[in-house]
C-alpha cells in the first residue's frame, strides 16, 4: 500500500502522481518506441490498429463514458473523417491540413447530430445516432462522383515534410505521436472545468443544470470533440487500410466501437486502450483457437460472432466496469493483501428509476 504524503500544491496538478506512475509509464513509452525493432512487421501493423482504435475509443469514451450520451452511429464519424482524408490527400493536399480538415469536418457533423441530443434522451438518442449512421453510410455509397461508391476508394500513403511514410514502422510512429497527443489532451480535458461539467451531466442532468452548467452547450461540445477524435482516427484508418468502402462504416462497426468502450471499462481513459487491444487481439485469439476445436465448430462461420456475444454478456453480467475494473480489483487485492474483502467493489442495487421522467 502506497501512502502519498502531499507537501506541495503542485503534487495535485502533476499528471504522474507518484514514482510508480513515472516508472511504469516511462517503461511503456520506451517499449512503444522500440516496438518496431523488436516485433515482427505484422505485429507492428496490429499495434498501429490498436493506436488508431484507441484514438476513436477515447472519443467515444468522452461521449459515452464521461458525458453519458450513447452513440450507436459512431462509425459514421469515422467514415466522414476517413473519406475527407482520402479525398484531400488524393487531391494532393498536404497530410497535416487534410488531417485537420478530417477532424474539423467530423466535429461539424457531430455538432449537427448533437442537436437532437439536446431534445431527446436515453434510447431516443441512440435511435437518432443509429438513424444518422445509416444515412451517412448510404450517402457515402450513393455519392459516387466523390467517394467512389460501393466500388471503393484507394488511398495514397501519407507524406510529411516531403517524405512519403510508406513503411509500417514510419506510419506506426505517426499514429503513436497522434495517439499520445490525443490521450494527453483528453486527460487534461477531464481535469479541467469542462471535463468536470461532462461528468456532472452524466451523473445527473438536473443537478448539473442547477449548478449552472449549460446543458446544450456542453452536450454539443461533447459530441463535437468525440466526433473530431473519431474523424482523426478515421483519417489514420484510411491510410492504414488504404482502401475504403462504405460497408466498413456501417452498424457493425458502430457496435464494435461501443463494445470496445464497454469491455474496456466505461468512464476510464485506460479503458479505451484496453478495449482497443481487446478489439484487435480477440479475432487473432479466435483464429488461433480454431485449430484446437473440432472442425465442425472451429470452421463454422458464426464462431466469431458467438464468441463476441458471449464475452459481451459475460462482461455486462460479471464485470460491468470492464477490463479496467478488473485491473483495479486485482491491484486492490495485492495492495491490501490479506485484507481484501469480497464485497469491496459490489455494485449498488438501485431500484429502477424511470427514464421517462428525467
Amino acid at each position: 500500500m502506497r501512502f502519498l504524503f502531499k507537501t506541495d500544491y503542485d503534487q495535485d496538478i502533476r499528471l504522474a502522481k507518484h514514482g510508480g506512475h513515472v516508472f511504469w509509464y516511462s517503461l511503456l513509452g520506451v517499449a512503444l518506441v522500440l516496438a518496431p525493432w523488436v516485433f515482427p512487421e505484422y505485429w507492428v501493423a496490429q499495434f498501429t490498429f490498436v493506436l488508431i482504435y484507441a484514438i476513436v475509443g477515447l472519443g467515444l469514451m468522452l461521449l459515452a463514458g464521461f458525458t453519458g450520451l450513447f452513440s450507436l452511429g459512431h462509425a459514421a464519424f469515422l467514415g466522414v473523417g476517413a473519406y475527407t482524408q482520402a479525398i484531400m490527400v488524393n487531391a494532393g493536399l498536404p497530410f497535416p491540413l487534410a488531417l485537420a480538415c478530417a477532424g474539423l469536418l467530423a466535429a461539424a457533423v457531430g455538432m449537427v447530430v448533437g442537436l437532437p441530443a439536446l431534445r431527446v434522451k436515453g434510447i431516443y438518442l441512440g435511435m437518432a445516432t443509429l438513424a444518422f449512421g445509416f444515412i451517412v453510410e448510404e450517402g457515402i455509397a450513393r455519392w459516387e462522383s466523390v467517394t467512389g461508391g460501393n466500388a471503393g476508394l484507394m488511398v495514397k500513403y501519407p507524406s510529411l515534410f516531403g517524405k512519403e511514410l510508406d513503411t509500417t514502422a514510419e506510419f506506426y510512429f505517426l499514429c503513436l505521436v497522434i495517439c499520445v497527443g490525443a490521450t494527453l489532451a483528453i486527460v487534461n480535458l477531464m481535469r479541467s472545468s469542462t471535463g468536470r461539467a461532462f461528468v456532472a451531466i452524466r451523473d445527473s442532468e438536473i443537478s448539473a443544470q442547477s449548478m449552472g452548467i449549460h446543458l446544450a452547450r456542453y452536450k454539443t461540445l461533447s459530441f463535437a470533440l468525440s466526433a473530431a477524435l473519431a474523424g482523426v482516427g478515421g483519417a489514420l484508418y484510411a491510410h492504414k487500410i488504404q482502401f475504403l468502402s462504405p460497408e466498413q462504416f456501417g452498424i457493425i462497426q458502430s457496435i464494435d466501437l461501443l463494445l470496445m468502450v464497454v469491455i474496456g471499462g466505461l468512464g476510464s481513459i485506460h479503458g479505451a486502450f484496453l478495449g482497443a487491444i481487446f478489439l484487435i487481439v480477440m479475432p487473432q485469439l479466435i483464429a488461433m483457437g480454431k485449430d484446437f476445436l473440432p472442425a465442425a465448430i472451429g470452421q463454422a462461420a458464426g464462431l466469431q460472432g458467438t464468441v463476441y456475444g458471449l464475452v459481451l454478456i459475460a462482461f455486462v453480467l460479471f464485470e460491468p466496469m470492464g477490463l479496467y475494473g478488473r485491473w483495479l480489483k486485482v491491484r486492490a487485492y495485492f495492495q491490501l493483501f490479506p485484507f481484501y474483502r469480497q464485497g469491496m467493489f459490489k455494485r449498488q442495487k438501485s431500484f429502477q428509476k424511470s427514464d421517462r421522467l428525467k
Binding site: 450513447f70 431516443y124 438513424a131 444518422f132 455509397a141 463454422a300 459481451l312 424511470s354
Partner: protein, 291 residues
C-alpha cells in the same frame, strides 16, 4: 391504381415492422429496457418454424403454434438467465446485453452445419397464391400478414385492457417499486413479458418468411423496426403498429418515386424528423419531472 398497389405492399411490409416494434414496445413498457435482440429472436422463430416443418415433419397448422410457443419459452429462459441478474442496473447495460444475446443467436444459427449459412423457403400452404381485385394484384402472403397483425393487435389490446395480467403489466411498467408493494410479482411478470415479446417476434418471423427467405441475417430487419417504434412513441402499443405502417408506406413510396437509394434511408430520415419535431412520438406520453 399503381399508388394503391404500392400502398398495399407498403402496408404488408409495415405490418412486419409493426410486429417487431410491438416486441420492443412490450419490453420497453414493462421493463424500460430496449431489446436489440428482437430481430434475432424473429430470425430464430422463423428457423424454428422451418425446423418444425422440414425436419420434424409437422403439418403447417401444428408447426406455427409449436414455433411460437417454443420461442415464448425461449424468451422466458433468456430473461431468467441473463436479464434478471442485472435488473436495476442502468438501462445501457441491458442494451449491451441484448446486443450480446443477438450476436450469440445469430452466431449459433450460422454455426449449424449445412443449414445456418443457406437461405431457405418456408413451405406455407398459401405460397404463391394471388388474388386479383379489379386491376389490383394482392398476394396471399400480404393478406395473411395484414390479417394476422390485425388479429394479434386486437388480442394484445384486449389483454392489456381487460385481463388481470395485462393490468398488472401496465402497473409494473409505470412504477416497478409501487407495483411490487401492491403485491404484483414484478420479476415473474418481466419473464412473461419477455416470453410474450419473443412469441410476437416468432409470429413476425413466420409471417415474413414467405415474403423474403429464412436466413441467419434476416434479423437485421429489426433495425428498421426501431424507427417504427420511435415514430409511434416507444411507450404505445397501437403506436408501434401505426409507426410500422407509416414506415412501411414511406419506404414503398420512396422506393418508387424517389431516386435509387432513398428506399433504404427513408425510414431513418422520417425518424430523425420525428425526433426533432415530436421527440415522444405520435402516441407517446409526455412526462416531465418537476423540481
Amino acid at each position: 391504381m399503381q399508388l394503391l398497389q404500392l400502398l398495399i405492399s407498403g402496408i404488408a411490409q409495415g405490418c412486419i415492422y409493426g410486429l417487431i416494434a410491438l416486441g420492443f414496445v412490450l419490453i420497453y413498457k414493462a421493463t424500460e429496457t430496449v431489446s436489440f435482440a428482437q430481430g434475432d429472436l424473429m430470425m430464430v422463430g422463423a428457423f424454428g418454424g422451418l425446423a418444425a416443418m422440414t425436419m420434424l415433419g409437422f403439418p403447417f397448422w401444428l408447426s406455427v403454434p409449436a414455433a411460437i410457443i417454443g420461442m415464448a419459452l425461449f424468451g422466458v429462459l433468456v430473461e431468467r438467465v441473463v436479464i434478471r441478474p442485472i435488473l436495476g442496473q442502468p438501462a445501457f447495460s441491458i442494451v449491451m446485453l441484448t446486443i450480446g444475446v443477438g450476436y450469440v443467436l445469430r452466431g449459433l444459427i450460422t454455426m449449424i452445419p449445412d443449414v445456418g449459412t443457406d437461405t431457405h423457403t418456408l413451405p406455407v400452404p398459401y405460397a404463391g397464391e394471388v388474388i386479383r381485385l379489379g386491376g389490383l394484384v394482392i398476394s396471399a402472403e400480404q393478406l395473411v400478414v395484414i390479417g394476422a397483425t390485425a388479429v394479434l393487435c386486437l388480442g394484445l389490446f384486449a389483454m392489456f385492457s381487460y385481463s388481470k395480467l395485462g393490468i398488472a403489466m401496465q402497473a409494473s411498467s409505470q412504477n416497478q417499486l409501487a407495483a411490487y408493494y401492491m403485491g404484483i410479482p414484478v420479476k415473474r411478470l418481466n419473464g412473461l413479458v419477455w416470453g410474450l415479446a419473443a412469441g410476437v417476434a416468432a409470429i413476425a418471423g413466420l409471417l415474413l418468411a414467405p415474403i423474403t427467405f429464412v436466413h441467419a441475417n434476416m434479423g437485421f430487419i429489426g433495425l428498421k423496426a426501431f424507427p417504427a417504434a420511435v415514430v409511434g412513441g416507444f411507450t404505445s402499443l397501437p403506436g408501434a403498429i401505426v409507426g410500422g405502417l407509416i414506415i412501411g408506406i414511406v419506404e414503398a413510396l420512396s422506393g418508387f418515386y424517389l431516386p435509387e437509394g432513398f428506399k433504404d434511408i427513408a425510414p431513418y430520415i422520417v425518424v430523425l424528423i420525428m425526433l426533432v419535431l415530436k421527440p415522444n412520438g405520435l402516441f407517446g406520453e409526455k412526462l416531465r419531472k418537476k423540481v
